[in-house]
């Protein structure tokens, strides 16, 4: 029971990270039908921005009273900066190709992914860099299991961001514009929606959430490196597909499920950690083959 609970908490923590990244994939796909390959690397960049901000503010040595506002500032600034990066990428690389054959923006996205990874590689080198964990330590003992307080914080931060996002999309004017653009771009334009601005906002939010995911990853694993985005991005994309690509709630659920699957395969099977990626990518292929709409997705017509 204790082991089960440990794996579950671990899975939910990983799942929170995957879900935050998966949201960006699913939002962008929902609105312009592009698999934003660079999104995994945007996640890594966000983690590095967070690390730099922590260093600038000197938060590792900050007194506890300043720690909480400090961490909030780090999250907000890193998410905004990363959001602007996402907007810039969309403006420079994807917008000119919006009406090009499908292959063109997809290949460009692979290129952007390599450019981001290349820049991080040049600036930060090939090695793992240690990341401070600013979340409170200690365990919460429940009798049948003891849960890390840091893990609880991670899951709560992620859930908070997801609920905020969902409210934003469902309740605000911009959120409604995003939904309308995803449904029918031309009709939305005729209704007076500024398409370019709406798509830019989508990239801003998606990349911002990825930054939150990157910082949380740093806190959870206390390490970061330039190539993190490829594997984690592909897993997060699996989560988005699993939940139903284009569906925000689906991506969140998919993220948690994939996180739990990874840690259960890794924990319960002999040498399972070597196989957990194989299991996840097999799930990706299976879902795409047998149920491309995922858990909650709607059928997307071939255009």
């Amino acid at each position: 029971m204790r082991f089960f609970a440990d794996q579950l908490i671990l899975g939910l923590t990983d799942g929170a990270i995957f879900a935050l990244v998966a949201l960006g994939y699913t939002m962008v796909y929902g609105i312009i039908e592009l698999i934003n390959f660079a999104h995994g690397d945007i996640f890594t960049v966000g983690g590095f921005i967070g690390l730099t901000l922590i260093g600038i503010l000197g938060l590792q040595h900050a007194p506890p009273a300043l720690l909480i506002p400090g961490v909030i500032v780090v999250f907000l600034v890193a998410m905004s900066l990363n959001g602007l990066l996402g907007v810039a990428i969309e403006r420079v690389a994807y917008r000119p190709l919006r009406n090009a054959p499908r292959l063109a923006p997809l290949i460009t996205a692979v290129g952007i992914s390599f450019i981001l990874e290349g820049i991080l590689f040049l600036l930060k080198g090939p090695n793992q860099i240690s990341y401070p964990n600013l979340l409170p330590g200690g365990n919460l003992n429940l009798g049948f299991a003891s849960i890390g307080i840091g893990n609880i914080f991670i899951i709560l931060i992620a859930l908070g961001l997801m609920i905020a996002l969902n409210q934003f999309i469902q309740r605000t004017r911009i959120g409604r514009a995003m939904r309308a653009t995803a449904q029918d771009r031309d009709a939305a334009r005729l209704m007076g929606i500024n398409i370019n601005r709406t798509i830019a906002i989508t990239f801003f939010i998606g990349s911002g959430l990825a930054a939150a995911g990157g910082i949380i990853y740093g806190f959870a694993y206390q390490t970061i490196d330039f190539s993190l985005g490829f594997r984690n991005g592909l897993i997060a994309f699996t989560a988005a597909v699993f939940g139903g690509i284009g569906n925000v709630v689906g991506a969140a659920i998919g993220g948690f499920i994939i996180g739990i699957i990874i840690d259960f395969v890794g924990g319960y099977f002999q040498g399972g950690q070597q196989w957990s990626d194989v299991v996840v990518f097999s799930i990706l292929i299976m879902v795409l083959v047998f149920r491309p709409t995922g858990l909650l997705g709607m059928r997307v017509p071939e255009k």
């Binding site: 290129g111 990706l284 795409l288």
Partner: protein, 381 residues
């Protein structure tokens, strides 16, 4: 009216016989190039350069294979390394001390290409009906699964260490040459040259066949192609399988030339993207372009990026620019291949999507020039 009767001979000139075409002035550069390629190992006594050329051939072959999938059929395959790995491992398992099986290289060259093609069909059959961008992700996932499986199945594949001591090809002894390939790069060079020429003939004929035209129809508009009676799934599957078989060919050759196979040499970053960069840079759908792209990227990767730090160091010390020496630019240059690949992929797509050397047909399509049919109509009128 009399002007019109003058046109049929011009139409007749459009299709000269194959031999006639070979003698045309525009083909002389190609003939010279062919002679140069044949004589290269004889004129150049530097074995390491022949060795480089023999490895470059692997990448040309891979790029030609991926070009069928991406360039002709318009399917983005991001897991091309998987088939390369399957070809390599199929050969290494069946021709090494691993299980003490030693089947002849010449049989396995085709057998492992066939095995790779079968895996292509196995993956493609359920997934090729998916939308194009989903296919890219499925192949990417497959490309990640295969090397991990090879790394984890230690009893069969040797795990992380791979299989060391893969067999070399043998031929009957001729002209005082023992027929053993061993570590001599010259026979390897001729072998890969021969395989590439064979593949070029194959692709050239396929491209102009019914199948080749069906590929391009699907690339341009899949719905319209299906409406004209093309079985799109079978046609795409053939492209996929054929591309995979090229990769299998290349894998067998690569394993035997390198003497070992290991799971690390088949990652997304090391193979799949590199081959994609070659195809995109040279020009998707252009055989000439793809070959040039492959050679260019291979040259940058295996020569420029390795030599450049040394050049910079000697240049900065010669010019006595101290602060540049301290900056250690060399280590940055060696780490810049990801950045270079990314810039090529995004830059080409944004600025010159047809690539450096686009095929004539593709160029005409993109520029919207007159089609052959219009000329033929004029002639028959």
């Amino acid at each position: 009216m009399s002007q019109r009767t003058g046109t049929p001979p011009a139409v007749g000139n459009r299709k000269p016989s194959r031999l006639g075409r070979l003698g045309r002035a525009q083909n002389i550069p190609y003939l010279l190039l062919g002679i140069a390629l044949l004589l290269f190992p004889i004129l150049d006594s530097n074995r390491s350069q022949i060795d480089v050329a023999a490895f470059a051939g692997v990448w040309v072959l891979l790029a030609l294979g991926l070009n069928i999938v991406v360039g002709y059929a318009g399917l983005l395959d991001l897991g091309y390394a998987a088939f390369f790995a399957i070809g390599s491992y199929a050969f290494a398992i069946l021709a090494s001390g691993q299980f003490n099986i030693h089947i002849s290289f010449w049989i396995l060259l085709f057998a492992s290409a066939f095995i790779a093609a079968m895996f292509g069909v196995l993956l493609g059959a359920p997934t090729l009906r998916l939308r194009g961008d989903y296919l890219a992700i499925v192949t990417l996932g497959f490309g990640e699964i295969v090397p991990r499986v090879f790394r984890n199945l230690t009893p069969i594949t040797g795990g992380v260490n791979g299989i060391v001591g893969v067999d070399q090809p043998k031929l009957p002894a001729v002209f005082g040459w023992s027929g053993n390939f061993g570590f001599n790069p010259i026979p390897y060079y001729y072998l890969i040259l021969g395989v590439i020429v064979l593949c070029l003939f194959l692709i050239n004929n396929l491209r102009n066949s019914r199948l080749g035209r069906a590929w391009m129809a699907i690339r341009e508009d899949e719905v319209a192609a299906a409406a004209t009676g093309i079985n799109t799934v079978t046609t795409k599957l053939l492209a996929f399988a054929l591309g995979a078989s090229f990769s299998g060919f290349a894998g067998t050759y690569y394993a035997s030339k390198l003497f070992i196979v290991s799971p690390e040499s088949f990652s997304f970053q090391a193979v799949s993207v590199v081959v994609l960069v070659m195809v995109v840079l040279g020009g998707m759908g252009s055989m000439r372009g793809v070959i040039v792209g492959a050679l260019l990227i291979y040259f940058i990767q295996s020569y420029v990026l390795i030599q450049l730090p040394g050049w910079i160091v000697s240049a900065t010390t010669a010019l006595n620019i101290d602060f540049l020496t301290k900056l250690d630019i060399g280590s940055y240059v060696q780490r810049s291949n990801f950045l270079i690949f990314g810039i090529i992929l995004a830059g080409i797509m944004l600025l010159r999507p047809q690539g450096l050397l686009p095929s004539a047909q593709r160029k005409v399509e993109l520029e919207g020039g007159t089609s052959d049919e219009a000329v033929a109509d004029l002639g028959s009128a």
